[in-house]
Assembly symmetry: C2
Homo-oligomer: 495 residues x 2
């Protein structure tokens, strides 16, 4: 069996190396590529993804996996075979013709989405989104998981999660979040803030230093990472000990800093993956929600916490001459703004944004919602959940790039990640009583180590739910998230 | 036949795309990669070069090429087949085992070369260089070209060039260069300069602006190129309309500026290659000498010329407060320093450096020189050609990285490029009487256009010698180079 395992690892390594090359291409496209290189770059991207697809779906690999699956391997080898088989089997269910069709449609859809968003004209995007939904429906029936047809799409991002589970979970969560928002809206402080808008302008050169500082404290060092500027912040793993994050200083307020916290959370997860599984499917996060739990942990649980701002408040106040008291800055960092834009939302609105998208996506896939009706339904739900009305479709239904990328089934991972992060934070506080005292002093080493030991080091040897059960003694539990929000916002807005 | 040509182009495109990916990896390694990413990067490099080797030597491609070669294709298709066949045939003569052995040896050799250079200890490098020479000898006999065994190595870089031709050409050139140097040494100005060393320190932020300016005037724009910083300056093509050059501001004096001129010369050549041949072997330079002729054209012919400095002199003088007169700055830019380091040499010494390496390499390959004797022979020749004695082996035989990279046969291309560049410049002046008046005004458009029309636009449809015959009515002719140097240096040093 040894020879076959060696061969399997060789196949695996090739695929992982190709993935890293693809990541480098993406990183370069967003950071340093000269503008006119774009046409050539899209050919390079198409070439690499085709190569990855071919490697992943090759008969050689599949036959080897089937052979090994039915053999007497055990331990990590067995796990490797199982995890990889799952991935390969899924990919092989979708014929190359459909993959090509989707990939062409995505390029057109993204192009038209950009124009539609710019011109605030949903009609321009509609036919391409319709086509994408059709292909995704086909994909769903080819994958053919039980239950709601959305399950087959969800499964790509969140193994084992079902539409049924999420529907019940989200509907409970939704009501509680709406109630909390309403309470905040009625508070004196909230009303005061409305007339007293903080429009904090932070000098970007100075802010850059804070970004570097916080990222460093989380564990990203000059030797193993870098931070560049790109239109939209992201994080990429380029190889062992090489992660790249980006931020953007055009956005005002704290947002470049918040982005660096978020992306550093992704980055430190990748840096801490178990090195012994390098170049295998096990050297990865088990799900997108798992990855998001780490970015949200640093962005929200730590980065919007009182101890965190106890450390940074005097430094910000001094460096930027803010002339604010702690209470105001802390509330500013947690402002319940009910923003129509998902990525600018507070912690309460964020999940409502996700739930809205989940409801639309499931409707699109089961046929109960038509693409042409999306703008109306979007705006109706916005009023219902956030009590706001988007100015136009550009800040409504057209705001996200995901649908033009055919990433239907991805959004729930954001909410799952957020909920996981609140569970992990609570458990960390239980395990390490004094950890927040260190955070107040700018020492995050204990936090990073706790995450490493309880989350990062599993890599993809367990599912996200299994890791959560090991770390927190239970799987996804939105009650903890609700409790966390209620407590935090009651204090901040003196409810 | 059409179907086969389409298939051939597909194969070609894959290889070119892989080459561009390899270039991006190299660019990233030298510019932005975090230090600890190096191990992972070397795996990515090995993976890509293996993929390129496999694609280039595959039976599918070779059989297709043979089939097409014997068929009735013509025009560009015929050319494409011939040029690619040549490349593939060469690659296929070297068995994969030897390629792997060489590639392992190169890694070790480079590692030990670095240490040897740092510690000034040739012995540390000796066994690895010996191994490389052995492999290169094997390679030579596998390639099996007629005449001197070095011909088979030379041919990889300079199609059609022979050791026999170069020996006679270089020996003539060598004598004339030595004579010119001696004359300069006896001149009053040269002796004066020795007691009056210019140690110009240029503020790097200000110099950066000049670098950007000159590169822009040559034709590299923000949309199609970028300039970054790396330990050693280089130029890379990443794709259509995407070239990247680098420089280094740690070197003193004019050298960062000179490097940018040099690399911009490579860059504008790549940008001006005939776009209709993109993703084929024809979208390339025909030889390394051809590419070098373009970098040297801008670095030396233009960048060390009187008209060029008429434009830049007042700007440099003002910006850096040099307080020099034109004559002194112009002589400084052309100083006959007789540097022991090749890359810091003046135009006369540069070719002597190359000839020395050529003589050593041919001796190593035909067995008349032993690796262990290299330091002695190096120093002896140095005294003979440049009348200097390297302080130690680090600034002598260990100075270049080429041998540790197994690039034996490459050095002559530098001299060939230099000679070509002098021929091209002379012909340009004959074609465009007033072109230097524009250069004096900082307008290089006429120069770039002349090069584009007479050199760049041929791509790899002709050999370098053929392009030269079209552009200058004759092939490689060192007499023109000698005349150029004699005239220039007689004026500068008032001989």
């Amino acid at each position: 069996m040894k020879k076959e395992i060696i061969l399997l690892k060789k196949y695996q390594k090739d695929i992982v190396l190709l993935n890293y090359l693809e990541n480098l291409l993406d990183w370069d496209t967003e950071t340093y590529m000269p503008k006119d290189g774009a046409r050539s770059r899209s050919e390079q991207n198409a070439f690499i993804s085709e190569l990855i697809y071919k490697n992943l779906t090759s008969n050689n690999l599949f036959n080897l996996l089937q052979h090994l699956k039915n053999s007497k391997i055990k331990g990590i080898d067995k796990l490797l075979v199982e995890r990889l088989y799952r991935k390969v089997e899924r990919k092989r269910k979708i014929p190359e013709k459909l993959v090509r069709e989707l990939s062409k449609t995505k390029i057109l859809a993204t192009m038209h989405w950009r124009e539609a968003k710019k011109e605030n004209n949903f009609k321009k995007f509609e036919p391409y989104l319709k086509k994408i939904v059709e292909i995704k429906k086909q994909e769903s029936s080819l994958i053919g998981l039980k239950g709601h047809p959305y399950n087959s799409l969800l499964d790509e991002f969140e193994e084992g999660m079902t539409t049924e589970k999420l529907k019940s979970l989200f509907s409970k969560l939704k009501n509680k979040l709406i109630i909390l928002h309403r309470k905040i809206e009625e508070s004196k402080l909230y009303k005061n803030d409305l007339n007293n808008v903080y429009n904090i302008k932070l000098d970007s050169e100075k802010l850059k230093k804070f970004c570097k500082d916080v990222s460093n404290r989380i564990g990203l060092k000059e030797e193993n990472s870098r931070t560049d500027i790109s239109p939209h912040p992201f994080s990429q793993i380029i190889g062992l000990n090489d992660v790249r994050i980006t931020t953007n200083y055009n956005h005002g307020g704290l947002s470049p800093f918040t982005s660096v916290l978020h992306e550093s959370g992704h980055g430190i997860y990748d840096l801490n993956l178990p090195k012994k599984y390098l170049y295998t499917v096990l050297y990865d996060a088990p799900s997108y929600g798992a990855h998001e739990s780490q970015s949200k942990f640093w962005e929200d649980m730590v980065g919007k916490s009182r101890p965190f701002w106890i450390y940074y408040f005097p430094k910000f106040n001094k460096e930027f001459k803010l002339n604010m008291n702690f209470k105001d800055l802390y509330r500013y960092a947690n402002q319940a703004t009910k923003n129509p834009i998902r990525i600018d939302s507070d912690e309460i609105a964020y999940c409502l944004h996700i739930i809205l998208r989940f409801e639309l996506e499931t409707g699109l896939i089961d046929g109960s919602i038509k693409v042409k009706d999306l703008p109306n339904i979007w705006n109706k739900k916005m009023r219902e959940y956030l009590n706001i009305k988007p100015k136009n479709d550009s800040e409504g239904v057209l705001q996200d790039i995901h649908w033009s990328h055919a990433s239907i089934g991805y959004f729930p991972s954001y909410a799952i990640g957020v909920i996981y992060s609140s569970q992990l934070y609570r458990k960390m506080l239980m395990d390490k009583k004094n950890i927040e005292l260190n955070v107040e002093k700018g020492d995050f080493k204990g936090v990073t180590n706790w995450l490493k030991k309880n989350f990062h080091e599993y890599g993809n040897t367990l599912t996200a739910e299994e890791i959560m059960k090991k770390a927190c003694k239970e799987g996804l539990n939105p009650d903890i998230f609700i409790k966390y929000l209620n407590k935090k916002y009651s204090e901040i807005y003196e409810l």
